[in-house]
Symmetry: C2
């Protein structure tokens, strides 16, 4: 009778639930980049722990794989669905929180979001972000300072926001001119900047992809409270990525991407009295102001 | 002086490191599908725990996002890079281990792998998987049984493997006929099956995508020991997804996808004596045998 018994030798492992995680971690131990090896080891341990806790069926795990694949397929040069996924799972906000925990006195950071994907057009102080020409004007004024109060002249203030219907230029390439709602400003000798724009409104994050389907399936709304994005850089200082949020917005308490900080909520007040008008603007117009405080690098 | 102070009301949260994870989990609590809500909660907790442990910079987290995006972009109808990622991180094998831990006496399961993506062509017992016409023949014989020893007639035995150069048909659509290396067989009245094929060889998992780059960056080899895939189904029994591995293969101890089980290693012996030949085959040829034991559903 022919012997069909196993031909396994002693070096053949027999990886089961009890041994596989250590084997996977060990397999990455030879990486020359120690940080990379450490990151993979930690991610593998936590991912395996989640799988052990959930005990997914093969069909459930396949559903996860298919969700991630669809998320990749939805991403292109003007859409980053994985950033969106990271945002709605609170990971983007957590990473920002961790990286800015020591910034005592500085402006709080919040998420970059998925729409900082094109270069903002350089603009002069006082210019408008609005290339469509809406009637209602919102003046935004601000000053960039160091934590000790020193105004930071020549700082770069990159601004981007959705229009008054809740869409960014890159979402509506056939409707909005490229660069609408965006501007790259440089602060004056007193660290100040000002520009005109439209009052932002709350808007849904894009819901036509896997992340939108996830929110729908789990009963979550997709709204972000109205906000304007800022990315501020100045010589000798740590850059800050932040927003200002419009006070009174109904979604301040349930931002779909978990990014609201009380310190970043600002009133967008109505200026009606011509005696209070600034920069030659004719009331009525809206006005919001923010101090952007950077810590030394 | 204009009051530019915060307009945040009492319901505005202030999500920091200490509170954000609970807020994210809570946001999914309204899901009608309780299993889905539970799965997301567990994945979020472990993902946040990994982020807290690693404290990634924003650039590092962006690198993760970009890696996942590239993994999605590499996936299409004939390539599943996320399955490959799940495989090289040992998650696919862990899921299989978890789902088959109670199959006492049954054939051990192992990963499906990324190449079971096309329908195997139905073939008659004794047919060859090899549509190219190699000289060296490998006979594979087997029997499908229930754990109590009862032969399972009419069982479906889906088989797929790489060719003798280590490539699956779907990887070489211009070289291999579709269905080469694949076959769907039905067991006879004694639960037996047999077919001819080429002796499989160890081969690298696809390395031209992000997962291959990850292995290269971390000093891991991409090889899988030589194997033949089986997916066996029989009425009244739990299906089993498994492999047979070729004994003596140099990669049995370091399978890139952590799927080797000692119980699945088989000798592929050389038959030289005509008196020992079966099924009318003319020696010399190779021969491997496997008993596939299913547990009742």
């Amino acid at each position: 009778m022919v012997n069909h018994s196993s031909g396994a030798d002693e070096v053949t492992p027999d990886l089961g639930e009890g041994t596989i995680t250590a084997a996977v971690v060990e397999s990455f131990a030879g990486a020359k980049d120690e940080r990379l090896a450490h990151c993979i080891a930690v991610l593998v341990r936590h991912l395996h722990a989640a799988v052990r806790e959930l005990e997914p069926t093969s069909a459930e795990w396949l559903a996860v794989v298919e969700f991630l694949t669809a998320t990749g397929h939805k991403s292109d040069d003007t859409r980053q669905e994985f950033v969106l996924l990271s945002d709605v799972l609170g990971v983007s906000a957590l990473v920002e929180n961790i990286n800015h925990r020591k910034a005592g006195g500085a402006t709080e950071a919040t998420v970059l979001g998925p729409f900082h994907m094109t270069q903002s057009p350089p603009r002069e102080l006082g210019d408008s972000l609005d290339e469509v020409g809406h009637d209602e004007v919102c003046l935004v004024t601000g000053q960039v300072r160091s934590v000790d109060g020193t105004p930071l002249a020549g700082a770069s203030v990159d601004v981007w926001q959705a229009d008054d219907a809740g869409f960014y230029d890159v979402q509506q390439p056939d409707i909005q001119p490229a660069g609408n709602g965006r501007g790259l400003f440089t602060t004056d000798a007193q660290g100040r900047f000002h520009f005109r724009t439209v009052v932002p409104v709350h808007y849904p994050i894009p819901t036509d992809g896997p992340v939108g389907a996830l929110l729908l399936d789990t009963g979550r709304h997709p709204y972000r409270p109205a906000h304007i994005h800022f990315l501020v850089e100045a010589d000798g200082h740590r850059p800050v990525t932040t927003h200002i949020f419009v006070s009174g917005d109904p979604y301040l308490g349930s931002d779909a991407v978990f990014s609201v900080k009380r310190s970043l909520v600002r009133e967008v007040r109505l200026v009606e009295d011509p005696r209070g008008a600034e920069y030659g603007l004719t009331p009525p117009y809206r006005h919001a102001h923010i101090e952007l405080v950077l810590e030394p690098a």
